[in-house]
Symmetry: C2
Subunit: 688 residues, 2 copies
């Protein structure tokens, strides 16, 4: 057994170290011999146990209460049998390891890499390539993006399958998404072979369009790069304003632990805010827990394109190794991620998480119009980021912390559209857009599910749906004579059934997570954090459709469930090849919808995203499209909690009147006028 | 007459220079003697005339086609008579100057300043102050925020009135909004006297709460400033990437003219994009044209609180003088604003507009999962900003230009809540929130109206409403077997009546402004710019309410009208004391709604904003709340128009394989690791 040599014990929520992963692998090997390692990841401490330890921290009892380190292990044994279990790290003992029937665990990058090679040498694939107009001798120019098959009723879920979305690259450096092929091989992971090929009725031979690319060579040929962009330098000569203790971060009254796993990527735990010396609990755990990307073309087999990128591939497994001065600027702190390889060794993704601050414009400002006495205070934000690549698309996932108590999850979409072949005389119809000759980019949605485990001043919380509506009293009535009355109508979501709620843009609908037993001293309203989320399309695949059945979490903008340790992932634990009958995850947990979620330990699930009708501007590489939402303190702090941020400038009326010295002026001295006085513009000139 | 001495002629859309303002003033004085100058502002050239000149630019004929400089002048003559007219600048001749009946023009800062002084010496106000608990000797501690009366049916609109929202400051440096008084004097501008006082049935004496403030002294007493925020320096050692020619700006293929007037503040004109050598027209004119802030408390006289900040006070007149390194950082270019004073001299607001660039994170990124070949390109944005103070609130209005052809109008709300008195034992009820002891902040909305005058590849445009919806074919049907089909349903808004449309969050509703006569070569869809706007609450004051009648523009998210030179301001030209009977502005222009707005010169009006249910976190000064929207090119460019922005890093598959040199690496060299290697964290360490 590999020994753990560490200067300190890991935090109970730290990801497994390379040594710990090795221990778990060794334990499984000892009992089961050779197998493919699919998952070796921290089995998070049970919440009750974890809270006891957190509450005891720094007390003499704390070490005895420290939760054990346990690994969740998923392995595949030759022949495709799947085992899922737990290994105690300290003892190296397998706690359990169960054979799973009718279940396919997550696809790893190695699972995916293998398919392309097999496609290139498969005679049936070669035959289809020839039909498409690609000679046998060009098979090294044929590529595939392997996706799990999702679900195909012809095969069920006992065989581990992938569908190979096929492409061609005339040159190794050409972006393949402009040369999609029209057929779709199906790969059997156990047989390591192509077992079938879906061939459409209408054939669409390889496009003959000239390539369009974003490589330096291609840009040079198209006229070269813009030369008029001058540098903006961002420097932090005195260092950063945050502190790290292991993976615990402190910044501007915030404190939290940064976890990371193969599935969700970044997980933030035990988020608290130091409110004038009182460290108040806000969220026990925050993560992006699932997503689904349904495509809207009904032609077979495109219904299978509805990737659950987290449940089927893993935001951790697919995460990028980030680069200084490239993915972000300033002073950056990085955290790595360690995962098992298929054969039981370790792969490390360096710089899997980046942490940095940014200037965030004005935090607040007010001028008294009487005398121009003024306060201007600039804001700072802290960003915890990862970027993952899901075949064609990239997702930048940012957790942004603000000084005023707001947490802003933000997702930036970029990368390349998933594309399909179309003929020169074909109409992409309502289901897609010809973004380039011969390239059909299908309509799709990106629906993300945020898992919010709140502890708003304690673990017993409740959710209200809030709609701003006119008064019920009509114009001219005594209660509303001028007709201007309106208010925030609150609907308590008291059961899991009632909590299944949708978005309403017209009422600016929000949801507030409240602690009913703690009222604000002034407003007399319960302390709360409010979710402000404005990109909330409905799930467009219809009720009882394949996607609707498999992605139960996406049926509503909000679900609320009672906390349960094992309910982490809203489309279920092992997502590939689920049939949706029954729907896994949230619909199972909600059941008949009668469970009370009032004043108890709850989990708040929020599905949001965008519906993407592609346009040529998105091709061949898509400018970032951000989706942002806010978790805002409302009736939580006694007043603006960021008033103690040093202003850039503050003058009071008595100072303006000259009756008092000491105008506060910490204005940034590095800023300059754009042009020297009197130049750069013939009318108007720069003022100091 | 003052002579114009200039090195060059002004652009026809440049604001009037100080000399030009002086010419107009002199002309009016010559014919009318002494009067109060309310407006002296550029009367913009008629569009037809302007287009002829633009098309002729740089040709020999261009000078003969140059539109004349004309001033719009509004003056008030002793006794309150209002004249509105035009003065030709070159000749100094009054083109027209008409007596206006039943109309009150905009309130200037000087109109407002006067009221506080008169309140302090008015016996009836002094009496009410005494009832509130303020001794006669403390009248210098009594303040008022004067607002136009809006509309009060008791007085109509022949007398120029203001309502004085009353406050008390125990100390001159105390924020007054925590000590509101419960009565409301009404000021007659012609009499220069308080003519009435609205006194509520329930009296609310002066609050005895201890003050809460954001001044350095107050923060020091509350524990002092945060000391752990280290500087972030933003520098542009090689200068900015934009060029100014007068008030015309060029940056990253964009070119446009920056105007400014007393009413709308920033006006952007003739916005074009250089698409590979072809300068394509996009918007003829963009501005924030009006706003209304209705408050939701039905108690008299709070229905009068529904400020039209632009039409009643002016975003230009109220604009802040901005400061380097304070309101924004980096290298900044400023433009001043010149206005007449009441007595006919000039006041200049220095640095009324700031222009600067910011790093904007990742523009696009893609990694090939096969070999980690990658492109990362950073984005830059250009911001044209003004900030105006409307008594208690501040609004930062930003026009943000992106490299990918997107224009992003963004408004940031900050400043201080408008507040009203409440008794210790009183319940703020559903209409407001007690944000501090004795302080009731009423529910309100901020509804902004954007005026978009498009010229998408030409002046004849059409608007489609776009909803993303499921296919009509049911699950299991031949056309939609798996139920996944969905598409963008387009509704052509072919008449002004049909174009009155509301927001629908569930369908991710957008509106696209298209040129039907120009189809994209690949998508075959008409070239367009799409409005993506997600903060679009309905107008909460009811149908036929006072606000609904006065703010006709706010009844729908979108209106489309046929272009007319004089239809600039959607609540009408002279907004103070309009009764709403009939509704001025957009409802007038739309009439019976039968006018065609297909393939013609149109104006697109968009009302958006937020409904604000106050919370104690907003007090005593409100952290910025941003509202953002996008005007995005869709089917406009042949492909991603920003591919020629230099990447930070780009490696191709052949370079990764070592078969080709020349990996592009322009990574920012100023960025650093947050902590030195091996320090700052005991687990994990920084990776280079």
């Amino acid at each position: 057994m590999v020994s753990i040599i560490k200067s300190r014990l890991p935090h109970p929520l730290d990801p497994l170290s390379t040594d710990e992963i090795a221990i778990a692998i060794a334990a499984v090997r000892k009992h089961h011999g050779e197998c493919f390692f699919n998952v070796v990841s921290l089995h998070e401490p049970r919440k009750a146990e974890m809270l006891k330890w957190l509450e005891s921290a720094h007390s003499p009892a704390s070490e005895s209460l420290r939760p054990a380190r346990v690994a969740n292990v998923v392995v595949i044994i030759q022949g495709g049998k799947v085992y899922d279990g737990l290994v105690d790290i300290k003892s190296g003992i397998i706690i359990k390891l169960e054979l799973m029937e009718g279940v396919q665990p997550i696809l790893t990058m190695e699972d995916l890499q293998i398919v392309e090679h097999i496609c290139r040498t498969d005679p049936k694939v070669i035959e289809q390539c020839e039909i498409s107009g690609i000679p046998k001798s060009d098979m090294q120019k044929v590529y595939c993006d392997p996706w799990t098959i999702g679900y195909d009723e012809r095969y069920g879920n006992n065989v581990r399958l992938q569908q190979a979305l096929m492409y061609y690259r005339p040159d190794v450096d050409t972006c393949q998404y402009q040369y999609p092929l029209d057929f779709c091989p199906i790969y059997d992971a156990n047989k390591r072979a192509i077992i079938d090929i879906d061939v459409p009725k209408i054939r669409r031979p390889l496009s003959k369009a000239v390539p369009i690319d974003y490589t330096p060579k291609a840009v040079a040929m198209a006229g070269g790069y813009r030369t008029d962009l001058k540098p903006i330098n961002i420097t932090q000569p005195k260092g950063v304003s945050f502190k790290m203790d292991g993976r615990e971060l402190e910044w501007q009254n915030w404190k939290f632990h940064i976890g990371f796993n193969y599935r969700e990527g970044i997980v933030l735990n035990n988020i608290t805010y130091n409110d004038k010396g009182n460290r108040r609990p806000i969220f026990y755990r925050l993560s992006l827990a699932e997503m689904v990307v349904p495509y809207g073309n009904p032609e077979h087999p495109h219904q299978r394109k509805h990737a659950f990128d987290l449940g089927e591939y893993g935001a951790g497994y697919m995460t990028n190794s980030l680069s200084l001065g490239c993915d972000c600027k300033g002073s950056i702190y990085y955290l790595d991620a360690d995962f098992p390889t298929r054969d039981g060794s370790i792969r490390t993704i360096k710089n899997a998480i980046c942490i940095h601050e940014e200037d965030a414009g004005i935090l607040f400002k007010h001028t008294d119009f009487r005398d121009d006495s003024v306060i201007v205070t600039r804001a700072r934000k802290l960003i915890i980021q990862q970027i993952f690549t899901a075949a064609n698309y990239e997702y930048s996932c940012q957790w942004i912390f603000h000084q005023d108590g707001t947490i802003q999850p933000e997702i930036k979409l970029t990368g390349i559209l998933n594309t399909y072949a179309m003929n020169v005389d074909e109409d992409a119809g309502p289901w897609g857009t010809q973004v380039y000759p011969g390239v059909n980019a299908h309509n799709h949605q990106h629906l993300f599910c945020l898992r919010i485990d709140p502890m708003i001043d304690g673990h017993n919380n409740t959710v209200n749906m809030v709609d701003t509506v006119p008064s019920e009293a009509p114009v001219g009535s005594e209660d509303n004579f001028y007709g201007n009355a309106f208010y925030a109508k609150k609907t308590k979501l008291d059961t899991t059934g009632k909590a299944m709620t949708d978005y309403n843009g017209a009422t600016s609908r929000t949801w507030e997570i409240v602690n009913e037993s703690k009222l604000h001293p002034y407003s007399k309203k319960p302390v709360s954090y409010k979710l402000v989320s404005r990109e909330v399309p409905g799930l467009l695949p219809q009720k009882d459709s394949l996607v609707w059945k498999r992605a139960g979490f996406a049926r509503h903008a909000v679900h609320v469930t009672k906390y349960s340790d094992d309910q982490l992932w809203p489309a279920g634990c092992h997502v590939p090849q689920t049939s949706g009958e029954p729907s896994m995850g949230i619909p199972q947990w909600i059941g008949d919808g009668t469970e009370s979620v009032v004043d108890t330990d709850i989990v708040f699930w929020h599905t949001f995203g965008v519906t993407h009708i592609p346009a040529p501007e998105d091709f061949p590489i898509m400018p970032v499209e951000p989706i942002t939402l806010l978790l805002r303190p409302r009736n939580f702090f006694s007043n603006n909690p960021a008033m103690d941020v040093m202003p850039s400038y503050c003058s009071t009326p008595s100072q303006v009147a000259g009756k008092q010295d000491g105008i506060l002026n910490t204005t940034d001295k590095m800023s300059t006028l754009a042009f020297s006085n009197g130049t750069g513009s013939s009318s108007g000139c720069c003022k100091p």
